[in-house]
Subunit: 159 residues, 2 copies
Amino acid sequence: MTSQQLSVKVAINSWRLVLERANKKFSNLTEDQLLREVAPGRNRLIYIWGHLTAIHDAMFPILGLGSRLHPELDNIFISSPDKTTQLLPAHEVKKCWEEVNGKLLSQFESLSADEWLLRHHAMSEEDYAKDPTRNRLAVLLSRTNHMSYHLGQVILAST
Amino acid sequence: MTSQQLSVKVAINSWRLVLERANKKFSNLTEDQLLREVAPGRNRLIYIWGHLTAIHDAMFPILGLGSRLHPELDNIFISSPDKTTQLLPAHEVKKCWEEVNGKLLSQFESLSADEWLLRHHAMSEEDYAKDPTRNRLAVLLSRTNHMSYHLGQVILAST
Protein backbone atom coordinates (compact mmCIF):
# COMPACT_ATOMS: atom_id res chain seq x y z
CA MET A 1 0.00 0.00 0.00
CA THR A 2 1.42 3.45 -0.87
CA SER A 3 1.47 6.28 1.67
CA GLN A 4 -1.28 7.99 -0.22
CA GLN A 5 -3.46 4.87 -0.26
CA LEU A 6 -2.94 4.49 3.47
CA SER A 7 -3.96 8.11 4.11
CA VAL A 8 -7.15 7.70 2.09
CA LYS A 9 -7.91 4.49 3.95
CA VAL A 10 -7.55 6.32 7.28
CA ALA A 11 -9.95 9.03 6.10
CA ILE A 12 -12.56 6.52 4.90
CA ASN A 13 -12.22 4.61 8.19
CA SER A 14 -12.89 7.81 10.07
CA TRP A 15 -16.05 8.42 8.02
CA ARG A 16 -17.18 4.84 8.55
CA LEU A 17 -16.63 5.00 12.29
CA VAL A 18 -18.74 8.13 12.76
CA LEU A 19 -21.37 6.76 10.37
CA GLU A 20 -21.64 3.54 12.38
CA ARG A 21 -22.10 5.49 15.60
CA ALA A 22 -24.79 7.68 14.04
CA ASN A 23 -26.48 4.68 12.49
CA LYS A 24 -26.58 2.79 15.76
CA LYS A 25 -27.96 5.80 17.56
CA PHE A 26 -30.72 6.61 15.06
CA SER A 27 -31.71 3.04 14.29
CA ASN A 28 -32.40 2.22 17.93
CA LEU A 29 -34.80 5.09 18.51
CA THR A 30 -38.57 4.66 18.45
CA GLU A 31 -40.79 7.00 16.42
CA ASP A 32 -41.68 8.83 19.62
CA GLN A 33 -38.07 9.24 20.68
CA LEU A 34 -37.23 10.62 17.23
CA LEU A 35 -39.60 13.52 17.95
CA ARG A 36 -37.48 14.71 20.89
CA GLU A 37 -35.64 18.01 20.60
CA VAL A 38 -31.88 17.95 21.20
CA ALA A 39 -32.32 20.95 23.53
CA PRO A 40 -35.41 23.04 24.34
CA GLY A 41 -36.68 24.70 21.17
CA ARG A 42 -33.96 23.12 19.00
CA ASN A 43 -34.05 20.58 16.17
CA ARG A 44 -35.77 17.26 16.66
CA LEU A 45 -33.81 14.03 16.16
CA ILE A 46 -35.85 13.04 13.11
CA TYR A 47 -34.96 16.38 11.48
CA ILE A 48 -31.25 15.90 12.10
CA TRP A 49 -31.47 12.38 10.67
CA GLY A 50 -33.09 13.68 7.50
CA HIS A 51 -30.68 16.62 7.36
CA LEU A 52 -27.66 14.32 7.46
CA THR A 53 -29.24 12.12 4.81
CA ALA A 54 -29.77 15.11 2.50
CA ILE A 55 -26.23 16.43 3.04
CA HIS A 56 -24.76 12.99 2.36
CA ASP A 57 -26.91 12.58 -0.73
CA ALA A 58 -25.54 15.89 -2.03
CA MET A 59 -22.04 14.40 -1.86
CA PHE A 60 -22.64 12.32 -5.02
CA PRO A 61 -22.51 15.25 -7.45
CA ILE A 62 -19.96 17.20 -5.36
CA LEU A 63 -17.58 14.23 -5.49
CA GLY A 64 -18.36 13.53 -9.14
CA LEU A 65 -19.95 10.20 -8.25
CA GLY A 66 -23.15 10.59 -10.22
CA SER A 67 -26.60 11.92 -9.56
CA ARG A 68 -28.35 12.29 -6.25
CA LEU A 69 -30.71 9.59 -5.08
CA HIS A 70 -33.04 11.88 -3.08
CA PRO A 71 -32.87 15.55 -4.11
CA GLU A 72 -36.42 15.95 -2.74
CA LEU A 73 -34.98 15.87 0.79
CA ASP A 74 -33.37 19.31 0.47
CA ASN A 75 -36.58 21.27 0.67
CA ILE A 76 -37.60 19.55 3.87
CA PHE A 77 -34.29 19.05 5.63
CA ILE A 78 -31.95 21.79 4.39
CA SER A 79 -33.86 24.81 3.05
CA SER A 80 -36.59 24.65 5.70
CA PRO A 81 -35.84 24.77 9.41
CA ASP A 82 -37.39 22.09 11.59
CA LYS A 83 -41.07 22.50 12.51
CA THR A 84 -41.89 24.55 9.42
CA THR A 85 -42.76 21.71 7.04
CA GLN A 86 -44.19 18.21 7.20
CA LEU A 87 -41.31 15.79 7.66
CA LEU A 88 -41.12 12.31 6.17
CA PRO A 89 -42.13 9.39 8.39
CA ALA A 90 -39.22 7.77 10.23
CA HIS A 91 -39.25 4.58 8.17
CA GLU A 92 -38.81 6.61 4.98
CA VAL A 93 -35.94 8.65 6.42
CA LYS A 94 -34.34 5.39 7.50
CA LYS A 95 -34.73 3.92 4.03
CA CYS A 96 -33.14 6.96 2.34
CA TRP A 97 -30.35 7.07 4.97
CA GLU A 98 -29.41 3.44 4.36
CA GLU A 99 -29.63 3.71 0.61
CA VAL A 100 -27.54 6.90 0.40
CA ASN A 101 -24.84 5.80 2.86
CA GLY A 102 -24.61 2.30 1.44
CA LYS A 103 -24.06 3.60 -2.07
CA LEU A 104 -21.65 6.32 -0.92
CA LEU A 105 -19.40 3.86 0.89
CA SER A 106 -19.21 1.53 -2.07
CA GLN A 107 -18.41 4.48 -4.36
CA PHE A 108 -15.74 5.72 -1.97
CA GLU A 109 -13.99 2.40 -2.30
CA SER A 110 -14.09 2.54 -6.07
CA LEU A 111 -11.98 5.73 -6.22
CA SER A 112 -8.22 5.39 -6.48
CA ALA A 113 -6.09 7.17 -3.88
CA ASP A 114 -5.07 9.82 -6.41
CA GLU A 115 -8.65 10.41 -7.52
CA TRP A 116 -9.38 11.59 -3.96
CA LEU A 117 -7.05 14.51 -4.61
CA LEU A 118 -8.87 15.72 -7.70
CA ARG A 119 -10.99 18.82 -7.48
CA HIS A 120 -14.48 18.50 -6.06
CA HIS A 121 -17.29 19.68 -8.27
CA ALA A 122 -18.44 22.60 -6.16
CA MET A 123 -15.10 24.20 -7.24
CA SER A 124 -14.13 25.77 -10.56
CA GLU A 125 -11.00 24.58 -12.38
CA GLU A 126 -9.47 28.02 -11.79
CA ASP A 127 -10.01 28.02 -8.04
CA TYR A 128 -8.73 24.46 -7.75
CA ALA A 129 -5.58 25.45 -9.63
CA LYS A 130 -4.99 28.15 -6.99
CA ASP A 131 -5.74 25.84 -4.07
CA PRO A 132 -5.36 22.09 -4.66
CA THR A 133 -6.48 21.33 -1.10
CA ARG A 134 -10.05 21.96 -2.30
CA ASN A 135 -10.35 18.33 -3.33
CA ARG A 136 -12.57 15.30 -2.73
CA LEU A 137 -10.64 14.32 0.37
CA ALA A 138 -11.39 17.74 1.89
CA VAL A 139 -15.11 17.19 1.22
CA LEU A 140 -14.96 13.79 2.90
CA LEU A 141 -13.31 15.22 6.04
CA SER A 142 -15.67 18.17 6.12
CA ARG A 143 -18.75 15.93 5.94
CA THR A 144 -17.31 13.62 8.60
CA ASN A 145 -16.95 16.66 10.86
CA HIS A 146 -20.48 17.73 10.01
CA MET A 147 -21.84 14.33 10.98
CA SER A 148 -19.81 14.38 14.24
CA TYR A 149 -21.17 17.85 15.02
CA HIS A 150 -24.77 16.68 14.80
CA LEU A 151 -24.01 13.37 16.50
CA GLY A 152 -22.87 15.38 19.53
CA GLN A 153 -26.33 16.97 19.59
CA VAL A 154 -28.22 13.74 19.01
CA ILE A 155 -26.53 12.14 22.04
CA LEU A 156 -28.05 14.83 24.29
CA ALA A 157 -31.59 13.71 23.51
CA SER A 158 -31.10 10.01 23.10
CA THR A 159 -29.25 8.83 26.20
CA MET B 1 3.90 18.80 -3.37
CA THR B 2 3.46 15.00 -3.36
CA SER B 3 0.04 13.36 -3.08
CA GLN B 4 0.84 12.34 0.46
CA GLN B 5 1.88 15.88 1.44
CA LEU B 6 -1.33 17.21 -0.04
CA SER B 7 -3.43 14.70 1.92
CA VAL B 8 -1.75 15.64 5.19
CA LYS B 9 -2.27 19.31 4.40
CA VAL B 10 -6.00 18.68 3.88
CA ALA B 11 -6.20 16.90 7.24
CA ILE B 12 -4.38 19.69 9.10
CA ASN B 13 -6.59 22.28 7.38
CA SER B 14 -9.65 20.39 8.59
CA TRP B 15 -8.33 20.42 12.17
CA ARG B 16 -7.50 24.12 11.92
CA LEU B 17 -10.95 25.01 10.58
CA VAL B 18 -12.80 23.27 13.41
CA LEU B 19 -10.34 24.69 15.94
CA GLU B 20 -10.94 28.24 14.67
CA ARG B 21 -14.69 27.79 14.97
CA ALA B 22 -14.39 26.45 18.50
CA ASN B 23 -11.96 29.18 19.43
CA LYS B 24 -14.22 31.92 18.13
CA LYS B 25 -17.18 30.46 19.96
CA PHE B 26 -15.48 30.03 23.35
CA SER B 27 -13.47 33.23 23.28
CA ASN B 28 -16.55 35.39 22.75
CA LEU B 29 -18.44 34.05 25.76
CA THR B 30 -18.58 35.88 29.09
CA GLU B 31 -17.84 34.08 32.36
CA ASP B 32 -21.58 33.90 33.02
CA GLN B 33 -22.34 32.48 29.59
CA LEU B 34 -19.67 29.84 30.10
CA LEU B 35 -21.68 28.51 33.04
CA ARG B 36 -24.64 27.61 30.80
CA GLU B 37 -25.49 23.94 30.26
CA VAL B 38 -25.65 22.73 26.64
CA ALA B 39 -28.99 21.08 27.46
CA PRO B 40 -30.86 20.76 30.77
CA GLY B 41 -28.73 18.79 33.23
CA ARG B 42 -25.85 18.37 30.76
CA ASN B 43 -22.28 19.67 30.69
CA ARG B 44 -21.60 23.35 31.04
CA LEU B 45 -19.69 25.21 28.33
CA ILE B 46 -16.70 25.84 30.59
CA TYR B 47 -16.45 22.11 31.26
CA ILE B 48 -16.45 21.27 27.56
CA TRP B 49 -13.80 23.92 26.94
CA GLY B 50 -11.56 22.40 29.61
CA HIS B 51 -12.35 18.89 28.39
CA LEU B 52 -11.25 19.70 24.85
CA THR B 53 -8.10 21.35 26.21
CA ALA B 54 -7.22 18.23 28.23
CA ILE B 55 -7.88 15.88 25.29
CA HIS B 56 -5.78 18.06 22.97
CA ASP B 57 -2.99 18.24 25.54
CA ALA B 58 -2.96 14.44 25.68
CA MET B 59 -2.19 14.42 21.94
CA PHE B 60 1.45 15.41 22.57
CA PRO B 61 2.53 12.04 23.98
CA ILE B 62 0.12 10.04 21.79
CA LEU B 63 1.63 11.63 18.68
CA GLY B 64 5.17 11.34 20.04
CA LEU B 65 5.49 15.13 20.19
CA GLY B 66 6.84 15.40 23.72
CA SER B 67 5.36 15.81 27.16
CA ARG B 68 2.01 17.24 28.08
CA LEU B 69 1.79 20.87 29.09
CA HIS B 70 -1.16 20.45 31.49
CA PRO B 71 -1.64 16.90 32.78
CA GLU B 72 -3.40 18.39 35.84
CA LEU B 73 -6.46 19.04 33.65
CA ASP B 74 -7.35 15.34 33.37
CA ASN B 75 -8.62 14.98 36.90
CA ILE B 76 -10.98 17.90 36.51
CA PHE B 77 -12.07 17.62 32.89
CA ILE B 78 -11.76 13.94 31.93
CA SER B 79 -11.93 11.65 34.97
CA SER B 80 -14.55 13.72 36.80
CA PRO B 81 -17.92 14.54 35.28
CA ASP B 82 -19.01 18.19 35.30
CA LYS B 83 -20.37 19.55 38.60
CA THR B 84 -18.43 17.09 40.74
CA THR B 85 -15.22 19.11 41.18
CA GLN B 86 -14.14 22.72 41.34
CA LEU B 87 -13.31 23.84 37.77
CA LEU B 88 -10.58 26.28 36.83
CA PRO B 89 -11.58 29.91 36.29
CA ALA B 90 -12.34 30.77 32.66
CA HIS B 91 -9.21 32.86 32.14
CA GLU B 92 -7.04 29.91 33.14
CA VAL B 93 -8.87 27.50 30.84
CA LYS B 94 -8.42 30.03 28.06
CA LYS B 95 -4.71 30.32 28.76
CA CYS B 96 -4.21 26.53 28.70
CA TRP B 97 -6.38 26.20 25.55
CA GLU B 98 -4.31 28.74 23.65
CA GLU B 99 -1.02 27.38 24.84
CA VAL B 100 -1.87 23.74 24.01
CA ASN B 101 -3.42 24.44 20.60
CA GLY B 102 -0.73 26.90 19.57
CA LYS B 103 2.05 24.43 20.33
CA LEU B 104 0.15 21.51 18.73
CA LEU B 105 -0.32 23.34 15.44
CA SER B 106 3.30 24.31 15.22
CA GLN B 107 4.33 20.72 15.98
CA PHE B 108 1.91 19.39 13.36
CA GLU B 109 3.68 21.45 10.78
CA SER B 110 7.07 20.14 11.80
CA LEU B 111 6.15 16.52 10.95
CA SER B 112 6.89 15.25 7.46
CA ALA B 113 4.05 13.73 5.46
CA ASP B 114 5.41 10.22 6.00
CA GLU B 115 5.86 10.76 9.73
CA TRP B 116 2.07 11.19 9.93
CA LEU B 117 1.75 7.56 8.90
CA LEU B 118 3.92 6.20 11.70
CA ARG B 119 2.30 4.46 14.60
CA HIS B 120 0.79 6.55 17.36
CA HIS B 121 2.10 5.92 20.85
CA ALA B 122 -1.10 4.54 22.32
CA MET B 123 -0.44 1.52 20.03
CA SER B 124 2.09 -1.28 20.46
CA GLU B 125 4.54 -2.08 17.64
CA GLU B 126 2.78 -5.45 17.23
CA ASP B 127 -0.70 -4.00 16.82
CA TYR B 128 0.56 -1.35 14.43
CA ALA B 129 2.21 -4.05 12.32
CA LYS B 130 -1.21 -5.74 12.03
CA ASP B 131 -3.05 -2.52 11.26
CA PRO B 132 -0.99 0.37 9.83
CA THR B 133 -4.08 2.63 9.77
CA ARG B 134 -3.57 3.08 13.55
CA ASN B 135 -1.22 5.97 12.88
CA ARG B 136 -0.82 9.64 13.78
CA LEU B 137 -3.10 10.74 10.96
CA ALA B 138 -5.90 8.59 12.40
CA VAL B 139 -5.44 10.30 15.77
CA LEU B 140 -5.63 13.71 14.13
CA LEU B 141 -8.89 12.86 12.35
CA SER B 142 -10.35 11.27 15.45
CA ARG B 143 -9.60 14.34 17.58
CA THR B 144 -11.01 16.63 14.87
CA ASN B 145 -14.23 14.62 15.00
CA HIS B 146 -14.23 14.78 18.79
CA MET B 147 -13.91 18.57 18.70
CA SER B 148 -16.71 18.80 16.08
CA TYR B 149 -18.91 16.61 18.26
CA HIS B 150 -18.60 18.94 21.23
CA LEU B 151 -18.80 22.05 19.05
CA GLY B 152 -22.25 20.87 17.95
CA GLN B 153 -23.26 20.87 21.61
CA VAL B 154 -21.65 24.19 22.43
CA ILE B 155 -23.61 25.89 19.65
CA LEU B 156 -26.89 24.93 21.39
CA ALA B 157 -26.07 27.01 24.44
CA SER B 158 -24.22 29.88 22.89
CA THR B 159 -26.42 31.19 20.08
